[in-house]
């Protein structure tokens, strides 16, 4: 009986519970009619806010969104800022003032890939693992089309044991760099896992130039046992 009395309280708490943001790796994809292979983070933002209907090379573009979920949350976090409610309100303001349309919003990666593949100028985003043969993946550069400059570089330590045993090679890392230039997260993409750990510890201390938004950079760090 006591539990039943608590039910309204639980419902109210759940109703007002904060939104949980789930991280996901994403990539930006485009229809084959889009000439560019790379696009700046600020262009991505402008396209999805319907401020741009064409890229600098004159290609017509049309944004395609995923409905709310981890991929959409990651895209918001990465490129647009704000919440999904903010974004929907932004679109509604365009729609109800006669200044724009509600963009296509689809339910899954597969639907986005299929729509982008068949729609001229479509630009969308999907999780990084999604395979889409009929679409192109756009490289997203740092803010305003400029590569982010590395300002502070810390050399990784090469563990003596591995060096003595001639265990080396190249470690590939994917870095998420915050707007202020700090490295927010590091993911080891390939290479010896111990060297990977050492490299990751070093790059976490790197500092890049500031940007409008978070960007993703991939770096390769060689460990040469002969040096």
């Amino acid at each position: 009986m006591k539990n039943h009395r608590l039910l309204p309280f639980v419902v109210v708490v759940m109703f007002f519970a904060p939104v949980r943001v789930i991280a996901a790796d994403i990539k930006v994809i485009a229809n084959g009619s889009v000439k560019a292979d790379a696009i700046s983070a600020s262009e991505v933002k402008s396209v999805f806010l319907e401020e741009y209907n064409s890229l600098r090379d004159g290609t017509h573009v049309e944004p395609v969104l995923e409905k709310d979920g981890p991929v959409h949350q990651a895209f918001l976090h990465e490129y647009l800022g704000g919440t999904d409610d903010d974004l929907q309100n932004y679109y509604r303001a365009l729609v109800f003032s006669g200044r724009g349309s509600m963009p296509k919003q689809l339910g899954s990666d597969a639907e986005v890939v299929a729509y982008v593949a068949r729609t001229k100028g479509a630009i969308g985003y999907v999780s990084a693992e999604t395979i889409g043969e009929d679409v192109k993946t756009l490289t997203v550069r740092g803010g305003n089309g400029a590569q982010r400059r590395l300002l502070t570089q810390v050399e990784p330590s090469y563990p003596d044991t591995l060096k003595r045993l001639n265990i080396g090679g190249t470690v590939r890392l994917r870095l998420t760099i915050g707007p202020k230039g700090n490295v927010e997260s590091v993911e080891v993409l390939g290479g010896n896992p111990i060297l990977g750990e050492s490299a990751a510890a070093a790059v976490r201390q790197w500092v890049y130039s500031a940007s409008h938004s978070r960007t993703i950079e991939e770096v390769s760090i060689p460990f040469d046992s002969d040096r």
Binding site: F15, F16, A17, P18, V19, S42, S46, E51, Y52, N53, S54, G58, H60, E62, G81, G82, T83, D85, Q88, N89, R92, A93, V95, F96, S97, G98, R99, G100, S101, M102, K120, G121, G143, N144, P179, H212
Partner: protein
């Protein structure tokens, strides 16, 4: 217990059926997708003293309804067309006479250059073009010093054309958006100003004229900060008939008023950081009218500004507050000056309206919200240009202070 469960199931079914109906609709026409969107809002206002916004709010009034429906389609990569119908009833205004809110053909050559023509919503400050869409705003009533809902017709749209565009600035200097426009404004005879004139025995047949202006806004390099400025020039003529003020028994005589100078400057800024948003606007409206074919002249200087803050506590709940300040000064020259002594002291309640507001907004779903808002007003800024308080619903005069409770709900799809 059984009945309670049944009623809960019934309410739940109705709610979900409503949600399904409220999903945005789209259909194909001539191989083009046509989007359909709409909204509806219903408010209730109770005031402790003066009647407000032409409603009998001191008794509590729900004559505060509006709704709209639009259709639009992207015809080609660059051409989009659409139209929206709008209707409202606000006390003695609107009275459910539907209007064409906007109807545009929008051709976008480039991101930095587009043209839209038809009946176009006027870009003026942060919220002029979205002031009717309650669901877009934290507040049930936008600051009335800058966005008087009874006078929406004065600025809401023009029949003409805009050129507009977005320009990304180099060297990380942010981005600019510009709009320049010209067209014809036409006020409904069911809108606030003709209603105000009717209290002097005037019956307005037509009210409108040329409207042209521009807006420039800058998304600054500081993330979340936008600043901008708007300018609006007008040449307005109103015609109808009125009681002859010099001979009340002589019946109706032709009435006319026309602009000698009529302009609005508006400056604004908005800053959003995380769940917090603050915005502020200042509007100055200068109005110099010739009355009764030039026999008299009226000079009105209307100034309004507000500072507003809103914080989203969680996904469903937002709170906000604003301080809104409105002043009006007026002088009349010529024959009518005997009836209208100069009104220049903005400390008098007749010449100002200061409104402190607190609000709470609950989003029940993505498409349905409820707002509860308190207004604590000092002054009633009653003329010669109205600002919410009308003599028709306050025949015994106006008290200096008004507190109001506003409850409003809106749906959109």
């Amino acid at each position: 217990m059984y009945k309670r469960i049944l009623s809960l199931v019934f309410v739940s079914l109705c709610f979900h059926a409503g949600q399904i109906i409220l999903q945005a609709q789209e259909f194909k026409l001539l191989d083009r997708t046509v989007q359909v969107h709409g909204f509806f809002s219903q408010g209730f206002i109770y005031t402790n003293d003066n009647n407000w916004l032409t409603m009998n709010t001191s008794q509590g009034s729900a004559a505060f309804t509006d709704f709209g429906l639009n259709m639009s389609s992207q015809v080609t990569d660059k051409l989009r067309i659409g139209a929206q119908g709008y209707d409202r009833n606000l006390g003695q205004l609107g009275e459910y006479h539907p209007s064409l809110d906007w109807a545009v053909a929008d051709y976008r050559f480039k991101s930095w250059l587009g043209v839209r023509g038809g009946k176009v919503k006027t870009t003026l400050g942060l919220y002029n073009d979205t002031q009717d869409e309650d669901f877009l705003h934290t507040f049930a009533l936008l600051p009335q010093s800058v966005y008087p809902t009874d006078l929406r017709d004065a600025t809401i749209a023009h029949l003409g054309a805009d050129i507009y565009g977005n320009i990304s600035l180099r060297y990380r200097l942010g981005a600019l958006s510009y709009t320049a426009y010209a067209g014809h404004r036409s006020d409904s005879i069911y809108s606030g100003y003709p209603h105000y004139l009717s209290s002097f025995g005037a019956e307005i047949k037509s009210f409108g004229g040329l409207q042209y202006g521009a807006d420039l806004r800058w998304k600054t390099p500081l993330k979340g900060l936008l600043i901008g400025a708007s300018r609006l020039n007008e040449n307005i003529t109103g015609k109808g008939s009125a009681i002859n003020p010099f001979d009340l028994g002589a019946g109706l005589v032709p009435y006319s008023e026309s602009s000698k100078a009529d302009w609005t400057n508006q400056f604004y800024g908005e800053y959003t950081v995380g769940r917090f948003r603050i915005d502020s606007e200042y509007r100055r409206y200068w109005r110099n009218q010739e009355l009764f074919r030039g026999t008299s002249e009226s000079f009105a200087d209307v100034r309004g500004w507000y500072v507003s803050g809103a914080y989203r506590i969680c996904k469903r709940l937002q709170v906000g507050s604003y301080d809104s300040r409105y002043t009006i000064t007026n002088t009349v020259s010529g024959a009518l000056s005997v009836f209208y002594p100069p009104a220049t002291d903005t400390n008098l309640p007749a010449n100002h309206d200061y409104d402190k507001v607190v609000t709470g907004r609950v989003d029940l779903t993505k498409f349905w919200n409820v707002k509860v808002e308190g207004h604590f007003m000092n002054g009633y800024g009653s003329g010669p240009y109205p600002n919410g308080f009308y003599t028709q619903v306050n025949p015994n005069g106006l008290a200096p202070n008004t507190d109001a409770l506003v409850v409003k709900t809106s749906l959109n799809f």
